[in-house]
Amino acid sequence: MEQRWGLPLVAWPSRLRPNYWDLVALPLVFGVIALVAWGGLAMTARYHIGDALPISLDPWRLPEYALRTVLRMAAALVASLVFSLVYAAIAAKNRQAEKILIPVLDILQSVPILGFLSITVTGFIALFPGRLLGVECAAIFAIFTSQAWNMTFSLYQSLRTVPGDLIEAARMYHLSPWQRFWRLEVPHGIPTLIWNMMMSVSGGWFFVVASEAITVSGQTIMLPGIGSYIATAIAARDLAAILYAVGVMLVVILLYDQLLFRPLLAWSQKFKGDPGADEDNVRPWFLIVMQRARVFDLVQSGGLALNRGIDGMLNTVGRRRPPRGEARPMPWLDRVFDLVLLVAAAGAMVWLGRFISTALSFAEIGWVFVLGAITAVRVLVLIAVASLIWVPIGVWIGLRPRIADKAQPIVQFLAAFPANLFFPLAVVLILNFHLNTEIWLSPLMILGTQWYIAFNVIGGAISLPAELKLAATNLGVRRWLWWRRIMLPAIFPAYVTGAVTAAGGSWNASIVSEVVQWGDTTLRATGIGAYIAQYTAEGDAARIALGIAVLCLYVLAFNRLLWRRLYNLAAERLRLD
């Protein structure tokens, strides 16, 4: 029988002998190693605040800048992965830790990502004095914050939903906790983790572009990368340079997709229990290379050996300890823990209140809430407009499998493309036609996030069982009745997922889209995003904190009051199974 695709978990010795697939794989592997080394060296270069990091608008420098950006992205992705594994494992295994970790994660998820950047950059610079690494870390951290939370959530949920019979089997066959984690729990979580990782990276491009130009104490540091290139091009009003950057970005995203996510997604299918109907049987070309080339087998058996080594070590350590009996519930310990949490939360509340109120007046706080409301109206209107456009189009596409096959990767790609690259074009248009900035800057917020709605609606329409469609035709259900009774309920769960993602992204995008620059021209709309952007540029910590806190409250309130309810409704009533 032919070896099925999927990394084989048993490595025959003969598998380690090189074959011709290695001709493709080896240069790739060495290339990546060299790249990481070069990037690492460049990151640790000497640097003092105030030094100029000249960004050239020469298009031939773009590949280099793109590489630096990609490396930053990759570093953030690895950090997110490690963070997810540790955080989710602790949250899933320790009841006490879970109580605090999960709500914290929920709030972190709604903190605007660009807010993290202005808050953390000084700390990172202090960590590595005289090196560029501090600034690099701040940028990587910002990207990390855009990726880690949803990956962690998905992994946590997977860890909590490992099928009971598999857990019993693992216990029955004496898997150690370490083996159980790597052989059962993590594999079970892989499909959703990979999917969320892909979504994270899609969102990440937006922030990588935004986070390379960092403002510290009134000075802008430009890390070499595509984002800085664009910032420089904007300052120089160089439209051609922007178009070059757009082109290079296209290539970068395409490569990421082809070399990383297509193979990963296909590979992750093997971790699914039952063969899903949506299983794509076309094996991505790069996965073939990975699986056929011996060099990857070598890497893999190395990884497995390392894993076994750690397990062996843990077992020797573990054997010295007496085996734990059944964990006895200790209600008083829970109470004490809850009390400590409560006191800590109250203390933090008081401290935050005093920090903001000493620096700011109540009138200003009130004004920021009004700004938040203005942005909220924008987000809602834009989601509504995008839905009106994309629901019919998405359904039209989704009902035509052949078109949907082609459209889905395109839409996914568009979602990944950093929409902020197009902001300058919008400025040019607004200036040319003397448009109202309050209205016409708004669409920028949803430029990048509307695709989530489109993408999910297409997915929802595709998954509508053919029999339901036939039954509807057979009953003569048409036009508005068809939409109301069949199509809208059928796509509702998928639509809600898309709208939640789009809304969250739009809140985040408000910080960069309510204030847009072109040369010395600055266009400004009224809103909380503009407020945060303005004080980030001025380096006013109290006002940044206030802006972020209020934005965070709005996002949380919307999630709780609107999206979660819709989500529950969708989950309970309109599922198709």
């Binding site: 099925r4 978990l9 048993v10 099928p163 019979d165 216990r171 029955m172 004496h174 039952d274 009533r573």
Partner: protein, 444 residues
């Protein structure tokens, strides 16, 4: 119990210590109000060398829980389990388990799944491979080593489950309804293959405990059958099976044992089961059997027809209607509760009420059913009364759920309420709105 075929409760005074023994095992689950619900009550059990023991019981008798306590997967609340004299508090080597749902790791190949247990024991790679391949061969899976579970049919998957259990050379195999997820033919083949391995001593296994809901399967496989009673689970009877192997399902001796098992399973200790006896009144928090109205009416209809003419032998009925224990017994219990049928000595007989129901036309059946539900099921009567008294004739489900939870676990309370909702809807005595989770009186 008046059954002469059944031996006395086992007195485990053996010359040789049993392979596996359980003494005074109780299991209590904690309920929301911390009172605790007893699911297993003082079970004593011993598995001798060379013996297959089958555990039969209605759903909810705690037979799977008991198997997991034997396996060391679940701790007993009281009493203890010992394997070769050593206490079992967590999974121990020497015991393997095969799961109803197969419980294979989807991301591991057949070989990977079979090797996993050896890997966890730290067996060296070369030996691991050899033993795994041997186990795969013996269970008839050769050629499928590199297949993933999802590429296999149910029968082949369970073969992987058996190979994985056998590869660690267990003394004792614990089988949790291993054949019930398979179709009849596949189950039979796999069962026979296992029995061949066992009788020809081709596997080192010294004892097997199998939990089953298929009576014939238990009679075919076991040297001894334990019949569990419900609420709380306990051993109601023990039936030795001494028929020579291979056993013929159609032989009179085989059929007689099957009949005996049916009789015991339908005899509820402490309740009057004589023919014509009225079902005793039940309380509000009674664990209503998990049976829907529609299949009940189908069984009633079938009973009125030839060859039964109102009275049927249960094994025969189960066989003809293709119902296994988990389907059949809830139906029978429900019919008995509603006063539509009496059960005794492994037979079921329609009561006059049952006949009246059967003779009625489709729409006229509803009032008959409604009468029976209101008369015999206090919970249904209670719901109707509450709805009558309330001005808006509406009441939230949570109200009744709370009352049920005084008697039942949260899960059971939910299930019982769902059962009564189904009966009430069929009887058209009340309506239930799933969106609002509320009962109401409709004008029918």
């Amino acid at each position: 119990m008046a059954d002469t075929l059944v031996s006395e409760r086992p007195a485990i005074v053996e010359p040789v210590a049993p392979l596996l023994r359980a003494a005074g095992v109780c299991k209590t689950y904690r309920t929301p109000d911390h009172t605790g619900r007893l699911v297993l009550d003082r079970l004593d059990f011993g598995l001798k060398d060379g013996e297959i023991v089958a555990i039969l019981g209605k759903s909810g008798s705690g037979k799977s829980t008991f198997l997991r306590i034997l396996a060391g997967l679940i701790p007993a609340s009281e009493g203890h389990v010992a394997y070769r004299g050593e206490p079992v508090t967590s999974p121990v080597r020497g015991l393997s388990m095969v799961f109803q749902s197969f419980a294979l790791f989807p991301w591991l190949t057949v070989l990977g799944n079979v090797e996993l247990g050896l890997e966890a024991q730290g067996v060296a790679a070369a030996e691991r491979r050899k033993r795994a391949v041997d186990a795969i061969d013996i269970i008839g899976l050769d050629g499928f080593e590199s297949a993933y579970p999802k590429e296999l049919s149910g029968g082949m998957r369970q073969r992987v489950g058996f190979a994985r259990a056998l590869v660690v050379n267990p003394d004792i195999l614990l089988l949790d309804e291993p054949f019930s997820a398979l179709d009849v033919l596949t189950a039979e083949t796999l069962r026979n293959d296992l029995l061949d391995l066992w009788t020809e001593h081709r596997i080192p296994t010294k004892g097997i405990v199998i939990v089953s809901h298929n009576i014939e399967e238990a009679v075919e496989m076991a040297d001894r059958i334990l019949i569990f009673g419900s609420d709380p689970g306990r051993i109601n009877a023990e039936i030795p099976v001494t028929l020579p192997r291979p056993r013929d399902w159609d032989s009179p001796a085989f059929r007689q044992i099957v009949d005996t098992v049916y009789t015991i399973l339908t005899t509820v200790p402490g309740r009057d089961n004589r023919r014509g006896a009225k079902p005793e009144p039940i309380g509000l928090g009674y664990r209503l059997p998990d049976a829907a109205a529609q299949p009940m009416s189908t069984v009633i209809e079938r009973l009125t027809e030839a060859p039964y003419n109102g009275r049927a032998d249960l094994p025969h009925l189960a066989d003809e209607e293709n119902l296994d224990v988990d389907d059949l017994f809830p139906l029978i219990d429900a019919l008995h509760l509603l006063g539509f049928a009496n059960v005794s000595g492994g037979d079921i007989e329609l009561t006059p009420a049952g006949r009246q129901f059967a003779d009625a036309e489709m729409l006229d059946r509803k009032p008959v059913f409604a009468d029976a539900v209101l008369k015999h099921i206090p919970l249904a009567a209670h719901i109707c009364r509450v709805l009558d008294e309330r001005p808006g004739h509406r009441a939230p489900a949570a109200r009744f759920l709370r009352e049920l939870e005084d008697h039942l676990s949260e899960e059971e309370a939910q299930r019982v309420l769902e059962t009564v909702i189904g009966w009430g809807r069929y009887a058209e005595i009340f309506a239930y709105d799933d969106d609002d989770e509320a009962f109401s009186l409709e004008n029918f």
